[in-house]
């Protein structure tokens, strides 16, 4: 009996340590269809990963993540924002995820991994496949009324479209960064310029252990209203290995505060809905606490003028259950 029990534990631990690949096929989407409305769930779950999503039916608009099996690689414009330029999923599969990253988007561990040990755990992400979204790819290739054709008027402009991936672990942003160019026109030799059109494997091991990954986009084509290049990209086949029980009890986050504008450069505002005061702290990418703010009920303006450009995280210190949030300072 004791042996069986030990065996079960070992099997369980083994199972828990097994590699997982999230490929989005669980949605059983017919080719040419997509999902951009997760309804009450607040996001899409595939395997042990959670992808936040919200859909506004009045405006037919979706945020953060969508799941797609669309194959249109030819139609330009914003109406075709759920297709991958590779014409399907990675490694010949149908379905993939599309991210609308106008502000940084997050994907988190969930399901069994999160329940392990009563709260969340972490995973070592090996890598995932990334490619361009058709709307973004064709906008970079052909230009549109708002965004430039990469290379610019002369063809020599050193344009780029960059995906930056960072990690969250226990509410703190890691200092490790993985950067991947979705389009790179920086070479002096114009023949070396490219816009990514295939699924390409991106190695995520430099990030180390994480419970969430943060994705942000940047481009060389910016204007008064921010980045002109359409802020979309696609991912598929995310490979990771969930780690054992956490060394520290991780908080379960059930509440989130509003943080706007984000990204920002001069100030940002936290809307604190509770009647009692709270303290918020801002952490740098390396986990160092920079400064704290007192939060009153309602809108609190935080002065960011002393912060240099980068990604920070904001946590509520003396209240539990509040999801830490990412803040991008420009």
């Amino acid at each position: 009996m004791k042996q069986t029990f030990t065996l079960l534990i070992l099997l369980w631990t083994f199972a828990l340590s097994a590699q997982e690949v999230v490929d989005f096929e669980n949605f059983n989407l017919a080719v040419g269809t997509s999902l951009n409305d997760s309804g009450e769930a607040g996001g899409f779950t595939s395997g042990n990963l959670f992808f936040p999503n919200s859909y506004n039916p009045d405006f037919d608009s979706w945020t953060d993540w969508g799941i797609s099996a669309q194959t249109d690689t030819l139609t330009p414009g914003f109406m075709n924002d759920l297709s991958s330029i590779a014409g399907g999923g990675a490694e010949g599969t149908n379905t993939y995820a599309v991210s609308a990253a106008f502000s940084p988007t997050i994907m988190s561990l969930t399901g069994a991994s999160a329940e392990m040990g009563g709260t969340g755990t972490s995973a070592a992400f090996s890598g995932m496949y990334v490619t361009n979204n058709t709307y973004a790819a064709l906008s970079m290739e052909q230009g549109d009324a708002f965004a430039k054709k990469f290379g610019g008027e002369t063809g020599d402009d050193e344009d780029f479209f960059l995906l930056t991936i960072q990690k969250f672990l226990d509410g703190v942003i890691g200092s490790e960064v993985v950067q991947f160019f979705l389009a790179d026109f920086r070479s002096v030799d114009n023949n070396q310029d490219y816009i990514l059109k295939d699924w390409t494997f991106v190695d995520l091991t430099p990030l180390g252990k994480a419970d969430s990954l943060i994705f942000s986009l940047s481009s060389s084509d910016n204007g008064q209203f921010g980045m002109n290049t359409p802020a979309y990209f696609c991912i598929d086949q995310i490979t990771f290995e969930a780690q054992g029980p956490p060394t520290s009890v991780k908080e379960v986050f059930t509440k989130s505060f509003e943080l706007f504008p984000n990204p920002s450069s001069i100030f940002t505002t936290i809307h604190w809905p509770e009647s009692q005061q709270a303290t918020a702290a801002i952490y740098s990418m390396s986990g160092q606490q920079i400064q704290t703010y007192n939060l009153q009920t309602g809108n609190n303006q935080l002065d960011l003028s002393s912060l240099s450009a980068g990604v920070y995280s904001i946590r509520i210190l003396n209240e539990v259950g509040w999801q830490p949030q990412l803040l991008v300072v420009k």
Partner: protein
Amino acid sequence: MPLFQDFLLRNLLLDAALLCKGKLFAVAALILVFQLGYAQVDTVLMMPTIEISAPTIRTQAVGGRVDRWSSEVLQNNGGASIADLLKRESNVFVKSYGLGSIATTAVRGASAGHTVVVWNGIALQSPMLGLLDLSMLPSGLMDQVGIQYGGQSTLWGSGAIGGVIHLENQTTFTEKSSVDLQSSYGSFSTFQQQVVLKKSNKKWSSTTRLFNQTATNDFTYRIRADLPTKTQTHAAVKQKGFLQELGFQTSNNQQWTVYFWTQKAEREIPPTTTQTRSEAFQVDDFIRTTVQWKKTGLKHTLQAKVAHFSEGIDYQDASIGLRALSDFKTTIGEVEGIWKKSTNTAFHWGINDTYTTAKADSYSTNRSENRTALFIALQHQKGPWKAQLNFRQELVDSTLVPIMPSMGIETKLQEQLLIKAKVSRNYRLPTLNDRFWEPGGNANLQAENGWSEEVGLHTFGAKKNHAWSYSLTGFNRHIDNWILWSIAPGNSFWSANNITKVWSRGIEQRIRYTFSAKNWTLAIKGGYDYIRSTNQVALESPRIAAGEQLIYVPIHQGFAKAEIAYGTLQAVYNHTFTGASQGISDALASYQLGDLRIQYRHTLNKWDTLIFIQANNIWNTNYRVIERRAMPGRYYQIGININFENK
């Protein structure tokens, strides 16, 4: 996430959404050299033979600066639009997307929605966009164009903050008939034709105007000296219009006028310089009708107007599968009266009701708006002093707009030195798109409003064959609750909000000089404007710091025009200087443009023939008005006007 609506918004509503600025500056016609902008209170005791629709107490309000162009200048514009005229002969910043494309103007550092265009006393802007496309105003359709600078909301209502452009058709009750034919051909397959038929007698008058214009606009341009030249594609335009006026003098002091104006423009929208191709296409059409009645007496004048406008825009882009239709119908009724209490005092009152219904794909349902306004103006003259006090009270649906007052003063400091000053409170109501567009429309938007002040010195003189004038005007204006479309904090889509304040101030200078001797005449006019128009509230979206000059608003602008005539041979040279400005994505460099026109007129009996040749952008400047939008280098035009008049 950008939606179809955001796309359309940014494309079509660029002007309404952006802070753009312009300068409006025009100089009076040759004949009016000695009377620049100096309005007379009481010169009319008898019914004039030339009638225009709005009384001068309103079109030339005391204290402000007014400029006018006569019919002759309008006819000699080479068949171009009012936008082209303003580009050459005023410091109005005309934002144009290319030849024959949509053109909006901005006056004194305000946006396109802060200029009101009035046609025969009726305001024309689109209630959905809050602005008017001046490329759809061929100058040949009008008999006189004037600009009233500065805030005039008290007299003309919402949006009259930067200035008011007056378009007038004049009705004459004299025994006359005439036929006028114009035809021109220019570079890029530009063809223009215009026909004006007039017939009138002491009892009635009829004027029929037709025009037609087509152009392929396939001009070549160069990005860089070592790169091959590129040809503009997909930029063809077609426009045709018809304006019929009928006037009836039913008695010695009563007259009726009916106007019917219809026009259609079909324009391909070219790709930007950083875009491979474009399949975008826009059709604008409208029918504008108005019936006006006027009764003039020694002491009292009464005028009534009814107008109906039916207008629409059809925007299509096959490459992205987009088709957006929008249209509106506006009905306007206005009654105004003038009571000349004495030779020194006049009292003017008016009531206006404007009812609009509009339809667009992004409106969840048909929308309507009703505005009722009461305005009064009191003009008084004492010795060399003249003053005018105006008030306006407007009701929009069931919301009362605060009372708007304004006051203007003029006086002669010396025989040839005038000083004018004006203070006014002005406002601009949110447009239907600002309120009802989905997503982003905000039904709770407040009206933009603010105070503006101006002071001007006008001096003039004449000696033997010379005449000259000079004016210097300084203005200062604040607009609060400025409405901007932007991505509000926490949202992913664009929305309209009262988010900033704009402070505009500047100095405008104008100079004129004419010389005539025997067969020669020389006329020179010029102007220079320095305008600072700054955003006063730091914004994230659009990213504009507090104190920064608005986008598309050059700080410096200047123009000069020289006309030399020997008998009936005339040469006209226009030169403009536009200073550097900031666009949405890139900065715009300053540029200078020159246009030269040579014309010869021959009169034989009742026939008058004029031939002209014109070279535009004669220095072949490579310039941009809007970033990533190519403009043509040097291009030409030749044409002929034939006029037959029987008196």
